[in-house]
Symmetry: D2
Subunit: 336 residues, 4 copies
Amino acid sequence: MTYVSFPDTRKMDFTAIGRLCIDLNANEINRPMEETMTFTKYVGGSPANITIGMSRLGMETAFIGKIANDQMGRFINSYLERNGIDTSNVVTDDTGAVTGLAFTEIKSPTDCSILMYRDHVADLLLQSREVQEQLIADSKVLLISGTALAKSPSREAVFQALAYAKKHGTIIVFDLDYRPYTWTSAEETAVYYNLAAEKCDIILGTREEFDMMETFDHNPDHSDQVTAQKWFDFSAKIVIIKHGKEGSIAYTGEGLSHQADSYPARVVKTFGAGDSYAAGFLYGLMQGWTIERSMAFGSAAASIVISSHSCSDAMPTVEQVNDYIERCNRGEITVS
Amino acid sequence: MTYVSFPDTRKMDFTAIGRLCIDLNANEINRPMEETMTFTKYVGGSPANITIGMSRLGMETAFIGKIANDQMGRFINSYLERNGIDTSNVVTDDTGAVTGLAFTEIKSPTDCSILMYRDHVADLLLQSREVQEQLIADSKVLLISGTALAKSPSREAVFQALAYAKKHGTIIVFDLDYRPYTWTSAEETAVYYNLAAEKCDIILGTREEFDMMETFDHNPDHSDQVTAQKWFDFSAKIVIIKHGKEGSIAYTGEGLSHQADSYPARVVKTFGAGDSYAAGFLYGLMQGWTIERSMAFGSAAASIVISSHSCSDAMPTVEQVNDYIERCNRGEITVS
Amino acid sequence: MTYVSFPDTRKMDFTAIGRLCIDLNANEINRPMEETMTFTKYVGGSPANITIGMSRLGMETAFIGKIANDQMGRFINSYLERNGIDTSNVVTDDTGAVTGLAFTEIKSPTDCSILMYRDHVADLLLQSREVQEQLIADSKVLLISGTALAKSPSREAVFQALAYAKKHGTIIVFDLDYRPYTWTSAEETAVYYNLAAEKCDIILGTREEFDMMETFDHNPDHSDQVTAQKWFDFSAKIVIIKHGKEGSIAYTGEGLSHQADSYPARVVKTFGAGDSYAAGFLYGLMQGWTIERSMAFGSAAASIVISSHSCSDAMPTVEQVNDYIERCNRGEITVS
Amino acid sequence: MTYVSFPDTRKMDFTAIGRLCIDLNANEINRPMEETMTFTKYVGGSPANITIGMSRLGMETAFIGKIANDQMGRFINSYLERNGIDTSNVVTDDTGAVTGLAFTEIKSPTDCSILMYRDHVADLLLQSREVQEQLIADSKVLLISGTALAKSPSREAVFQALAYAKKHGTIIVFDLDYRPYTWTSAEETAVYYNLAAEKCDIILGTREEFDMMETFDHNPDHSDQVTAQKWFDFSAKIVIIKHGKEGSIAYTGEGLSHQADSYPARVVKTFGAGDSYAAGFLYGLMQGWTIERSMAFGSAAASIVISSHSCSDAMPTVEQVNDYIERCNRGEITVS
């Protein structure tokens, strides 16, 4: 059955709003960053990664965001364009802001961390008046990312994008993507995440992220059912709660929960797993696939990305995902 | 007919959240402030004034707010208590914030202005975690004031109060009270005013305030009907749009508009007219009166306040309002 | 003997730079401010008070400062002008800053406190480029006040004024006037106070203020001699250290210390004592009087001011000081 | 003759205070940064580079600064220690500050630029109370760098270090190193640079940097003689004014100017030229060499560094400098 009805006649499949930044991935891995000497530059940021992923999967995509007026900003813009993403609503900052940076440290496949530069970054300076209503009206899906809610004026830009999406019936996806270091307090985060989530059709996040959103609620057992039902009482059709290694569960309004097997991977690092999963899952849903098949497709896309050095650059095509699934099914890929 | 059903069995009639400050009213009036030498101190702030007004009218009232840990803060708290207002949710700041000040200048009855001190004020430091859910659950009405949305963390405190009110079925009144000097931009204001207004049952504001809220909308003729209908599509039951000297119009969901005559006054200054009107109108509504009768009662209360030197201190009792109406009807009070 | 040689041929006797603000003095005294209802407005700020004092004593005076573009700022400017003070270097702020306020509370003649409004005040926004070199070159004395060092850009304006004064041989007086609430830390204060004091000819402050300046020094016994000698090694000729009720001691380069009796007063409040003392003392010094006589004259001026409700408005003329001294000598004035 | 007498019996030759940061040098050179994909990490910051240079030249060195509590900060600290620099006064920040970054772009040997990350950096958070008086008392030379004056509390830490150096007779070197992007205005910069320069024995800067310092002065012809004389009237013994390609001129108190030939180089980039020059020149001066010989030695050190990919890592030993000079003298090195 169909849980979400996408407005099929629109020219743009997928538009995301939010963070655009630079990943600087250590070339020397399996050691602390104190000992790495060289870094490779990639476009990063969760909504950027998902959009690149959707574009690689053949979707018509666009991005709403703000870049610094410097070499890093121009690199981001040209990378998006080379990947077929519409950048007509990617605005250039004129106040001297910088591009957010994420230096990644891969001590081991399971011990990865990030050193962030998030002061005075351009992406958080997107203004509500800079969001193009027509682009959202022309899109089947608008994806918002929680990090863009962290500061004014980006926060207001996201709420205005939500208002446009509600007005025009664009399906709204909320990727929680909670990064505590850009927020003042968990309470502040919970208030704005809740205000945004009320308006969303599909919500994806970890159990810990939903716990943060329930700061003012009563859910002592951290029940997924209680969490999901809260959002069904607003606008949600699908709520996906991720439980780390135990896998993700998709809840739908009828009280059903859905799960899918994941695929093995020779893990290099864990970064990018969620973004590639989100792209694969949404792609499947927009093809009219079942939730289970969409989840499996997302899992395979995630396995490809975590086997690679980069996030954005490793986002697979449909053929690559299908090929990976087939190789897994033939037993050719096993956990390293 | 009844437009709003109040949850009648609750012990608290009316609770407001927001600004608490000090008015310093020039004792020497009808001259510029450069020439005034002495000032008298009153409790001020729109939601504080309305709450004092409701209390004078015999309602059980409470306030949710934050005061400075100084002589001004303690004066405010003791004044509220002397007026029978529950201050159990009036929190004292511990960060060195000051009390907001409003020096009033009365050059003539129609030429009044305010000199504001709003930097680092305690009232804008109320935190979401400090808002008592039980107090809102026990109240028939929660009034929010737009100025409390101007800055974090007070902004989040208001949104959390709205969440509690929605959860418990408390009737929500939104007094727009837009003061540009505490806001970054009209766009920022519009985004948060709209997010708040979506959840409100009764909205009161001037045509100019509603225009600001429509920054991102299309209402080229500034049509009251278009404005009111927008909010009826969310939660509103009554939208009151004030047109200055031409009077106020109340819109209700059925497409009806309501108006009432105003009462003459020997005007000293115009400050406080809106607050006393709001108190009188809400009082009437909570008595089950018609909208017209409630509006008339509010108008009479406003006429009393603008004939006086203070705002909060001049808020009338029911007897005083009725007496004023009778004297007007007998022709004893005419415009000065 | 003469300790300081003033450049006598200049047209301006005395120019001060720094804080201009408004005192709001409680009219109802001998009670906590929670219970005072009316306030009277005066010009305030230590360097403003001293300048008004010097002008009342017949000196040619000027002020270098910044006022808010509002009624309070205009009141200050007109009050200075009415008192014969040159305001050609009193600049009006154009950024929306406010006038600093000081609400005074007089619980008893010996228990007085101040409630300050110092956020976003105009006086701390004076810029170095706004300081007129010619005015300082034309003045016999430049007085700086420590509060003006508390924040940029006022801090830089004071250092630039000091540079001009050194260049032109203007005698520099430093009134320490340390107010902790406008400073980040005692260390920050000590650094800038020391940098400024190195360039000054006359330094006046309390023992506690000099202790703060010695944060990084070694003066375990809080020895006045050690303190004074430090500044004689730089530029100082006279260092006055105030010991509250025990009186003030003036140190001079030759290792001498000077003291003078004080005069009785029927004390209303203690505010303004230091400012009137400074004006009287400097007046005497500029007349070529001995240090002892100058100190006595300052003490008499102080006794007059603390017997009055205001600070600035109570600054006496030469005749009033002389008359007060005579009445004290005749035993007509005794401690209340 | 000897222009500066160093206090020769101290155990530490050279201590610097100020900026510690990370250079990220593009590995792919001669192209815009939009097209560079990988970067190599080095320790950077002008005073850090000079200290590393002094250490390579065999001097006993120490550093006074603050590092972030992260992988970048720990890398800096361990690099300094590996280079024999005393880090006992390198403090670790505990407020979540980041390490300053400088991405270098080498479009051509003569077209180099830097993309700076200077928001919320640890080095500007050094506090005056963290500066160790004993270390400065034990050092022959204290070098201060202008960038450390850009913000509080680092600004106060530098002024306190200057106070300690004056107290103990440590020779003070001021490397102007003016970077406009961290300053509010040229006026603010001029005020603090002048306050610092008054106390310095040796001042090195470009003509443009001295012009900035003369914002409030009268030197319409940008005369080096006027500039140098200003500082001789305070504490300076040597003032070096750099005129880019036309070379540097050293002025000494007796009205003499000194110049030295520079050495050819196969230039990769121009970064680091000034830092290696400063290290070489000061090394020579501390050996008791003539100013001309010291300048020549500095020039050769600079030629070595600009022929290399890095700054700090390329700082030469005495043998390398002497060898380079000999090879130049034999005509083995010519401009590329």
